[in-house]
Symmetry: C2
Subunit: 520 residues, 2 copies
């Protein structure tokens, strides 16, 4: 696992002085940057057909599709180089319903199975229309990606991983094989992993970036969107950007596509919308995820969705699968979840309710962890590090400030279930039940500071990637894709690769539709 | 407790057919009513200085203050009569810092203690500016209410109640006396209870309504706001309302005050913004709480805050204080909270995580419940009813489908703590620890269907009650108060009477400020 907590810490500490002072005083300040919509300027500095804001996965996909349709495309990117959250991701794209890779590996999958899995796995509030389109476009997305040079190795890797450590091409990245999902939908692995060992987000982005550069699209780096421009009829007609401190008015004759990311790097907006996730320490994104695009969208009357929910991810099997043989306890020594659960559920429970959380393992489990994985669990590790070690459960409890009888009782109960071969409490798979009895005993830190998080909510869009007002009508001239908008994820994260998958799917759709708009 | 679950059920089932069908299909439909902003009409049908939308607590306060400042005021109310959520409330208003009632009862309180309590009790994301104003205006609010004919009995009632069953005037309605708050701020009772036994919301509303009627304000019933009207400069200039199926354009020369309530009666918006609260069954509000005002505000570019959070309230001491001697367990037989905790925390944990939750008591506890309170716990009770009774814990567990060893273990552990006189698990007050050992044993239903809820999030306002855009600037001509906007409550509900208190405080402030606007 790369040390992303440092990136995160820097980002959080790098906020404005005003914001930090307000936070220290216990409150939150108003946003410091201007994003209110403006009216048509006396003179445009530049004009293009399609203006894409942000050069990550969604922006690349929109650009390539709009170029393919013959539109003139300008991409503005605030950083000196492109990237976005995809480059920090595990490199998985959630695709299925019979992709070429699935077929080549002899894996049967249908649009129906994928749709049924996703609609139930995302939980209450699913946008079935968006999920339907996502599934419809999935096999085609695979072919499109490979045509742009993204490579997937023709191998399936069995096992439970957050991100495969290998360069294998296909994995189970969600809960498809777990109940109740395996009954609801025929399971199939849908985590398509771009070919490179481990975290391979760059193996998605690098070829897409090269394709954009070869496409004839104009890319302006160090150029930050400041405000949308709206004409007298309420149509988004362009944008004001700043570059080297100077304002530039860019007319977008066919429309603007916002792919500026979420708001995970904006502590003010976390307080405003999803305070429960304030302690999650490992933000998966960039400093560009400051919510500026969401605020620009709101300024022209775009509706929002699920701003209070975030993906909070903490998989016990993240550091190594054998850790699932331990028990996760809160500061009262209680187990609160099956340790083999998907990281989204474990992380959400922890983030919302437990300031301190520990994985308790014994010497036998410790011996089962390979040497390289064990290195990542040292006391100085930024996350999941060893916080206590003792010869008895009672001594361990004291070190953790958990009342001794509570932790002793939990371990006694767990060992009885292990002996009986069934976790009647949380139905952890029996293969992980071996009891915790061989001292010394260890506690690893699974507190919120080790939780990976990404904001989930954002602007509301339809199946054409059009921004929607609170009435459900499109905001003319405005499209969105990626974490700036709420797409197929609702109450729960259905599996790794969904964030990349939806940015690419709705980015492509945005590019196709904006290019077909009548120019103003 | 009144049977509010029926009100709620009727409200939820009363949604549009389209919405219900979409929900049945697992998804959510787009809103069916139009709320997009409109431009200035060719002709206004009516004009006024101040247009107040909604005739509840916030609307009454705004109206009375704007009238006191000499403005012409028109109130529109969609229902055939006024009311709003205040009439369904317990009749408590959270006030302090030295109100006349506190002084008359010899209770010392300061603005500083009240401010320190509120800023810490609402948790992360507190808007310290709004809380500051709320505290500043609190003693004055009490005097203002009594001048309008709202009565408070000069008595203090000790004890722990959701709503006092008596007509006493002052109670502890929050966690002021509990740690860590009693260390952070000197405790004082601040729950001012309008004089009538039990739920006394009508004792707040009735005199305010009479005062509005006597004030010279024009009240139009059966008149529903449809869309805000915005002039060329972006100022809110009036509103389109419907009455008897006809549209009416009402010019508001000084401004519009929206006090239309929250969105708890709109299942679509719950899915869109706070899906975690979908199963809460006892909505405290009216069918008017459909979020229409929030959507109108968004349509003119107003920012939102905390839409993902709701107040989910389930106090174990609600039916009767002696129930706190029982233990609350989830479907795994685990305790998950101290049973004497404030209802906001109990309800939130339950709503978010436990589809089934039971209060386990024994015969000794049952005998301690007065006859009248016991009646409310019968098997046919709409909430908190008896769901199982058995001679042994094992039989009770079987009836509840909880694995027998889990419930037995929890009760054994709890009885050991009771014998030792200390709840080392959740620090429940020792006075409630008497063990659960005398059969028969009973299980009462504390599942989400019995949770009272109110949406917490809404439009963003400043200390002048002005609607704010995402940049933090006022939306010209637009004011808000009450549950349509996010006010002093942040992550947690600080105590009963805060909803009424903030509607009245920010309603008064809105009325004062809108009346002082330059007319257009």
């Amino acid at each position: 696992m790369p040390d992303q907590s440092k990136v995160s810490r820097r980002k959080f500490l790098g906020g404005t002085v005003a914001a930090s002072a307000a936070l220290a005083a216990g409150g939150l300040s108003a946003p410091s940057q201007a994003f209110a919509a403006r009216s048509i300027p006396a003179k445009w500095d530049m004009e293009t057909d399609v203006l894409v804001v942000g050069f990550g996965a969604g922006g690349s996909a929109a650009t390539l599709e709009a170029r393919a349709a013959g539109a003139k495309v300008t991409v503005i990117e605030r950083m000196p180089t492109g990237g976005g959250a995809v480059t920090r991701s595990g490199g998985i794209i959630y695709m299925g319903g019979g992709t070429r890779l699935q077929k080549e590996l002899g894996i049967a999958d249908t649009r129906e199975s994928m749709y049924n899995y996703l609609t139930s796995a995302v939980g209450y509030g699913a946008d079935t229309e968006l999920i339907g389109v996502y599934c419809d476009k999935s096999p085609e997305l695979y072919d499109w990606l490979t045509s742009k040079g993204v490579k997937f190795k023709k191998t399936f890797l069995a096992g439970k991983y957050v991100v495969p450590p290998t360069d294998d091409g296909l994995v189970y990245s969600g809960n498809e094989e777990q109940e109740p999902y395996r009954t609801i939908a025929k399971p199939a692995p849908r985590g398509h992993h771009a070919q490179a060992p481990g975290f391979s987000g760059h193996a998605i982005y690098t070829p897409l970036k090269a394709a954009v550069e070869a496409s004839g699209a104009e890319v302006l780096y160090n150029t930050q969107a400041k405000a949308l421009v709206v004409d007298a009829k309420g149509r988004v007609a362009g944008l004001v950007a700043t570059s080297n401190g100077k304002e530039k008015h860019i007319k977008a004759k066919r429309g603007v596509v916002l792919t500026t990311g979420g708001f995970g790097a904006n502590k003010d907006m976390i307080g405003q919308h999803c305070p429960a996730y304030k302690d999650c320490g490992v933000f998966i994104g960039t400093s560009g995820d400051d919510g500026s695009g969401i605020r620009m969208g709101q300024s022209v009357g775009t509706d929002v969705r699920l701003l209070g929910e975030a993906i909070a991810y903490n998989a016990i099997y993240g550091p190594h699968e054998s850790l699932v043989k331990g028990i996760l306890v809160n500061d009262r020594g209680q187990r609160y979840v099956g340790e083999d659960n998907y990281g989204d559920w474990v992380g959400d429970l922890t983030a919302r309710h437990y300031p301190a959380s520990y994985l308790i393992i014994d010497e036998k489990i410790m011996q089962g962890i390979p040497e390289d994985a064990r290195k990542a669990l040292q006391p100085d590790a930024p996350v999941n590090g060893l916080v206590a070690q003792a010869d008895s459960v009672a001594e361990l409890a004291k070190a953790l400030k958990i009342p001794v009888p509570l932790l002793e009782n939990t371990i006694k109960q767990y060992n009885e279930m292990s002996a009986a071969g069934e976790d009647i409490q949380f139905q952890k798979n029996a293969k992980y039940m071996q009891g915790i009895s061989a001292g010394p005993f260890y506690a690893l830190d699974f507190s919120p500071k080790g939780i990976w998080f990404v904001t989930k909510g954002g602007l509301k869009i339809n199946k054409k990637s059009q921004a929607l007002d609170p009435e459900g009508k499109p905001v003319p001239g405005l499209y969105c894709a990626g974490t700036i908008c709420s797409q197929i994820i609702a109450q729960h994260y259905p599996g790794s690769g969904t964030l990349n998958g939806q940015a690419l799917t709705f980015g492509r759709i945005a590019g196709q539709n904006v290019a077909a708009e009548k120019p103003i």
